[in-house]
Each structure stands twice: as C-alpha cells, then as structure tokens.
Amino acid sequence: MIYTINYMDSKSFVSIADCSKDDILQLIRTAGQFEQHPNQKLLEGKVCATLFFEPSTRTRLSFETAINRLGGRVIGFSDAATTSSSKGETLKDTIKMVSNYADVIIMRHHLEGAARYASEITDIPIVNAGDGANQHPSQTLLDIYSIYKTQGTLENLTITMVGDLKYGRTVHSLLTGMSHFNPTFCFVAPEELRLPDIYKQFMDKNGIRYSEHTEFSQDVINQSDILYMTRVQRERFTDLIEYEKVKNVYVLNNQMLENSKDNLRILHPLPRVNEIAQDVDDNPKAYYFEQAKNGVFARQAIISTVLNYGT
C-alpha cells in the first residue's frame, strides 16, 4: 500500500502543525506496522543524508537506525564544525549540494526556521530533526505514538504536562499535535515557566479544555491518563533564587503515584536529570525508556511516508 500525506505546501515533514488529523493517524498506523516488522528493505538503493549542523546523538542514532532497518544508506555529518558551513557556506548552498547526492535530507539546525527554508530550496523531502527552539516534529510523533500505544486511543485523554512549559518545544508541539483528539490538558509549572499566552489563545479558539497549576498535587496526578514530565533547566531562570525554590518541587517520586489511574503512563522526552526519581523506573507506569524505543518506529514511518513508500 502506498501512503501519501497532505501537507500544506510540500512533501517535507517540517512542523507537526502542518499535519492534519488524518496525517497523524496514518503515520501512527504506519509506525505500528514497523513495530511489528521493523526490518523491511523499502529503502534499498536509497541514500539518506543526516545533516546535523548541531550535535544530537540520540536523535541522530534513532534516525540512522530507522534508515538502516529500512535498508537505506546513510551519508552525513554529526557536527557542523567538520563541514563547509564552518567556512561560511550558506545553508542554501549546503542543501543544494547534498540534494544532488541524496534522496531525502534529515536535518538538525540551531537556527529556527532552517528546515522550512531548506524545504523551499530543494525538490527532495526535508525531515526536520529539530530547528533551534522551534520544532521537533519527529519527537512529537513518537510521543503521540507512545500515547496511542499505551492508551489504545488518542481521543478524550487527560494529559498533564509538568515542568518547563514556557520554553519546552516538545510541550508546545505535543499540545498542537494532540489538539485534534479532544484532549483535556493540565499544566503544572512554576510562575516563571508558565505556558505562553499564544498557546492558551490557540486552545480557547479550538475549544480545548485546560487548567493551570503551580502545585504538582496528588489531585492532578490522580485524574491524568498521561503524565508528560520535562526538565526545569537552571539556565532558563533570570532569578536563581527562584530556581532554587522550584527545582525540587516538580519532581515525581513513586509514592505520588499511589492512587493514580491504572492506565496512567509517565512520558519524558529525555534526557532526565532529577525530575523523575529513580524509584519510579521500576513502576510499570514508567514508560519513558519504551518511549525512546518508539522513536525508531515513528521515524521509519516518517521517512517511508515522505519518500512515498508504504508498508
């Protein structure tokens, strides 16, 4: 079966906001098929470029594993310091050059909008593996796939997001991606790291229910289907006294899960520092390591879809 995807302006995968509900469901179904049969030679004879202008070992290895499992070949770099961009070559020239060699470009860049721009200057598909603080849509897709797998549905779920809701791009993208599925959101964050107003306006406009909390309480946990934890980073605070006050407030430990729902699962985009205590790891509700594994299937789905190869 051949899948096509109806993005607004290209066959590239740049932002989760470009994906319709059907696009997301289709990608998730495809990811599920890859989970059952991970090794398929759909990309035999294809060359995939992974251009990591900014290092990100975890994301790169996940993409490269996905390509290898599909029988494709990988070219690329994992650090811009070894490329011509360190000599001052423009992104446009690098993309044009690599487009002559590869069938798809998977790129991570420190500048925001880099992937969108790249998708406009080449005819081959671009997969955004993160552009600065802007988008990281393959992470969002693996998050959504993880939610689907653990809950059996994406509809009508209560999703609690905890930690840095101001700068956390995974939070913003997940919110956008899940907005198609009638969710209820709970946002738990210190005052300084509250969800930006533009996302609240987006939810108001789309009739999405949400509540905001500064306290990470039992009540909030007990009503959740998904607990999405993120890291509160020290460098985000202008006032370090404020950081010291909150750094241990948004920490999840095993005891706090005592009266949580049976179907609750804990997700985290990783790496974690101390926001999830080690004693949670053995709780069957902890899902963050499997979540990372789902990343390979989600990325197999993305790559095969932009190249128009179904399973």
């Binding site: 925001e112 969108r116 802007n134």
Partner: protein, 152 residues
C-alpha cells in the same frame, strides 16, 4: 482651503497621488515603493498642513499606476493612506490600502536565532490578525505585534 490646495497639489495629467501619508513616514513610503528608481516626474510633499492629521505627506507620481500588491506593502506604516488615480487631469478612482495576507521581504524578524537573520534570504510573514496587526514569521514562527515591527 482653496489656497492650501493650490500650494500642495500642482495638477497631474496622468498618474497617482498618494495622500494622507503620516509625515514621518513619507521617505519610508518612497523607499518601500522604490520611487527613487522611477524616471518619471515625482513631487514629494513633506510636513504639509492637514486638517485631519495635523501634518501630512503627499507623493505625486506622473505616469505611474501601482498594482494592488505593490501598494499594499505600505499599509503597515501608513494604513490610512488614500490613493487618487488621475487620468486626463481628473480623479478617476480613489483607493485605500489594505494589509495583505502575507508580507515578503518587508519586515525584519525580531528573533535573532531566526534563519532569516542569518542567511541571505527574504523574510516572509503571515498576517494572522489584520485588526490588531499581528504577524507570524513563516520560518521560525515567532509572532510580532504591531509596536514591535521593524522594517528591513
């Protein structure tokens, strides 16, 4: 009133009169419309008395008729501008400017980490709220409010 008109507007046989430009924006309008590149006669009035605006600017361009998408580029800095289209010494048409849905190569993105501030390329913005003038960068998705707008 008659006297003022005589002073401010010498008759134009064919062309466009851009009226009611905020005085301080006159030269920006010239630059956005690239009027300095024209080879037809142009009269630029600056700091003229206006009942409505206190002071206003006016630009009269002979033998030039703008396309809508060209003229709409000035709507960001001069939203209340009026255009008189003159043919054979008579005002044949009056037009007002309107904010377009998208602005290309006009506004600078305020996000220093945006690709448009780091590559030799044109900026692109979607106008997501015409009433209160909110722009969204097509690339980095940063939203810019009216008072934060900086022209390229």
């Amino acid at each position: 009133m008659e006297h003022k008109k005589e002073l401010q507007v010498a008759a134009l046989e064919n062309g466009t009169v851009i009226d009611h430009i905020p005085s301080e924006q006159v030269f920006k309008v010239v630059s956005i419309l690239e009027i300095e590149k024209l080879r037809t006669p142009v009269t630029i009035g600056y700091s003229l008395d206006s009942k409505k605006m206190g002071k206003k600017g006016i630009i009269k361009i002979a033998d030039k008729f703008f396309e809508e998408h060209e003229i709409n580029r000035i709507s960001l800095i001069a939203p209340s501008v009026k255009l008189n289209i003159i043919r054979d010494y008579e005002v044949k048409e009056k037009k007002w400017v309107a904010l377009p849905d998208e602005l290309a190569g006009l506004v600078k993105c305020n996000n220093p980490k945006c690709i448009t501030n780091n590559e030799p390329m044109k900026t692109r913005f979607k106008v997501i709220d015409k009433e209160s003038v909110i722009l969204k960068c097509h690339y980095c998705e940063t939203k810019i409010k009216k008072e934060e707008i900086v022209l390229v």
